[in-house]
Symmetry: C2
Subunit: 345 residues, 2 copies
C-alpha cells in the first residue's frame, strides 16, 4: 500500500565539518521529491525531531561510539513521525513511530534498517509526542541506565546532576528522588533552578551562573556527593570532584561545555580525587541498553502516569529553523528538552 505524497522533501545536510559552534555555512538546505519506499521499507513523515548535544559530536570526523555523519549526508536525528507509505508487513500507514529519521520532512527506511530495529511504534496514550523524545526517549533511557546501572544510587545517598533542567537531567534528578536519594541539580539561571526544585521536586539546585559551584555544593550537599551524573564537563566537573565521597560514582554522560572547543578540551584537573576517595568515573552510551529500553519505558511511563515524574519540553517549530535551534543547546538557552516540531501530524 502506498500513499506517497506528491510533494518535496526538505533536508538539512552536513556541508562541511564545523570548527567550534556550527554556523549556517556548515549546512546545506536541499529539496528533493519524496520517493516511494523500497520493497520491505517504509516512508515516514517527520513530526518532531530531538535536538541533542550529542549531535555536535556526530559532526566531527574520527572514531567515536557512532560513525560521523558524512559530508553531504542528511544530518542524523532521532524523531517521531507517522508512517505514510509502507511496503513492510511490520508497519501500517498511520502508525506513529520513533526512529532515526534525520533532519528532513520525510524519511525512507529500508528493510535492512527496519530489521535492525530502526523504527519502533509508540503509543501516544502513554506519553505525548514530545515526551516520547524526552523521558520516554533517548534522554530518558540515558538517564535511567546511566543513573541506575553506573551510578548505582542507594537510598539516602546524594546524587548531583548537571544540566538539571535539560532532557537527561530532568529524568536523573526525579529518578534519584524516587529511589530515595537526595537530588541536587546544577543549572544556569534562577528560572531553571526554581523549576527544578519547585516543579520537579529536587532538594536543591545550584545556579552555576550565580556563583562558584563549589560553594553551592558545600551548602546543598552537607554529606558530600555519592553520585555525580555529568552532562557538562569542564569547570563544573572539576568542582564536583572536590566534594565527592569515598567510593563515589561519576557517570560521564556528556560534556556540553567542551563540544565546541576549538582548542584541546580541558581535562578534570582534580581527577586525583578519584584516587583519594577510591572513586570511579565511567562513561556511558545509551545504545548499549537497547535490549532493555522496554523495561525502562514501562517504569518511567508509570511515574509519568502517577505524577511522580514530570517533564518539560522546549518546542521550536519549523524544519528551516534547525541551524539556529540547535545552537540554543550550546548557549544554554533551551529550557527543558529541546524539540524541533516539523509538522502537525
Amino acid at each position: 500500500m502506498s500513499t506517497v505524497p506528491a510533494t518535496n522533501n526538505r533536508q538539512y545536510r552536513l556541508a562541511r565539518r564545523p570548527s567550534g559552534l556550527p554556523v549556517r555555512e556548515d549546512w546545506s538546505f536541499t529539496t528533493e521529491p519524496v520517493a516511494e519506499p523500497e520493497e520491505g521499507g517504509v516512508l515516514v513523515k517527520t513530526l518532531a525531531l530531538s535536538l541533542d548535544p550529542a549531535m555536535r559530536g556526530w559532526m566531527n570526523e574520527g572514531k567515536s561510539y557512532i560513525a560521523p555523519v558524512g559530508i553531504g549526508e542528511v544530518m542524523r536525528a532521532g524523531g517521531v513521525g507517522k508512517v505514510v507509505a509502507s511496503k513492510s508487513p511490520a508497519f501500517a500507514v498511520g502508525d506513529v513511530v520513533y526512529g532515526t529519521l534525520g533532519v528532513q520532512e520525510y524519511a525512507r527506511l529500508d528493510a535492512a534498517a527496519l530489521a535492525k530495529g530502526g523504527l519502533s511504534r509508540i503509543d501516544l496514550r502513554v506519553g505525548t509526542m514530545t515526551q516520547w523524545l524526552n523521558v520516554l526517549g533517548m534522554p530518558g533511557m540515558t538517564g535511567y541506565f546511566g543513573l541506575l546501572d553506573v551510578g548505582q544510587p542507594k537510598p539516602g545517598e546524594t546524587v548531583v546532576v548537571s544540566g538539571a533542567a535539560g532532557a537527561v537531567g530532568q529524568t536523573v534528578g526525579q529518578l534519584a528522588k524516587i529511589k530515595g536519594c537526595r537530588a541536587v541539580g546544577i543549572a544556569g539561571g534562577p528560572a531553571k533552578c526554581e523549576w527544578v526544585v519547585k516543579e520537579l521536586g529536587f532538594d536543591a539546585c545550584i545556579d552555576y551562573k550565580a556563583g562558584p559551584v563549589k560553594d553551592g555544593l558545600k551548602a546543598h550537599c552537607p554529606k558530600g556527593v555519592d553520585v555525580y551524573f555529568d552532562n557538562v564537563g569542564g569547570e563544573i566537573l572539576d568542582a564536583v570532584l572536590t566534594r565527592i565521597n569515598r567510593k563515589a560514582r561519576i557517570v560521564i554522560c556528556g560534556a556540553i561545555s567542551q563540544y565546541n572547543a576549538t582548542e584541546k578540551p580541558v581535562g578534570p584537573a582534580n581527577y586525583l580525587s578519584l584516587l583519594v576517595n577510591r572513586a570511579r568515573m565511567e562513561g556511558i552510551v545509551v545504545f548499549d541498553n537497547a535490549d532493555r529500553y522496554g523495561i525502562a519505558i514501562a517504569e518511567l511511563a508509570g511515574y509519568l502516569k502517577d505524577g511522580r515524574m514530570k517533564s518539560r519540553e522546549d518546542v521550536v517549530s519549523g524544519l528551516e529553523t534547525f541551524p539556529d535551534a540547535l545552537l540554543k543547546l550550546f548557549r544554554g538557552e533551551n529550557f527543558g528538552k529541546l524539540v524541533l516540531q516539523v509538522a502537525e501530524g
Copy 2:
C-alpha cells in the same frame, strides 16, 4: 625484657610544607636519646625504609586518604626493622618486623599502635628484606589488588603499566603476564625498558623519553589497551586514553608527574574517551585491602620462589642521605624499588 641501646636516635622531621620538589630546608635532622618502649609497646631498630612517591602527598596539607605529616613530626615511612626491646607479649627481641617506622633509626610503637596491626613479623626465608619492601610489601600489595580487583584483567587482554621499572610497575606487569595477558610497560630510558622486557618478561616496553608514547602504544598494543595501570598521570595518561578499548579499565594508582606541580595539575584532556569507550577510571588506596594482604603475599611469594616473578631494588645507604634519596623518585633516577638502607641488621 629490654635491651635499649645507649645511643641516639637520628630522625628526619618535616620542618615546613614544601612547594614543588622538597628541598633541604623542608627537613630538620634531629637527634634524641633512644628511649624505653612504653608498657605494652616495642622498640624497633630500623634496618631499611621504603621510599615511595606517595610520601610527597603526605607532606601536603589538606584532606587525603591519610592524615598529612604534621610540621615537626618524624616523616612517615614504612620500613623493615628488628625488635630490640619489647614490653609486648606479641613481639620478642630479635623479631624482624614491617611497620610504619618513620624516617629514623629507632621507632617506638606503643600498645595502641600494635593493637591496630601497626607491626607485623616477616619471614626472611620467604623474601629478602628489600623484597619485603617491594613485591611482598606495599608496592606489591598495591599492584596486586589494583590490577586484579580494579583492573580485572582477562586472559588475552592487553595490560599497560607506567612506571614499569618502578616498585608497583614491576609487580603489575609480571602479574599480568602470569594471568595470561599481554603486558606492555612504559618507562624512561633504554636501560629500564630493556630490563623490563628481557628480565621481567614484559612483551614490550615504551621509552617515553625516546618518542611519543602514542606511537609506542600503536606499535605495541595492536589490539588496543584493555587495562591501564597508571602511576604517572599527565601526558602519558592522556596518550593512553586515546588507545583504550571498549569497556577498558584505568586504575588510578598515582600521578608522579603531578606531585611536585606548583601550579594546578593538568587533568586528562582526553577523558571523554571514557564515554566513547564506555570505559572506567577508578582510584585505589592499598590500605583498604589490609585484611587480604596475607592472600596476596602468599601468592606473590610463590611466584618469587618458582621464578615466575623477579624483583629489583635500588638501595641507597645511610639515613642522612634521605632528602636526596627521595628526590631520585621524582627525577626518575631510581631503577627498581627505591630503598633506604639505615642499618646492617
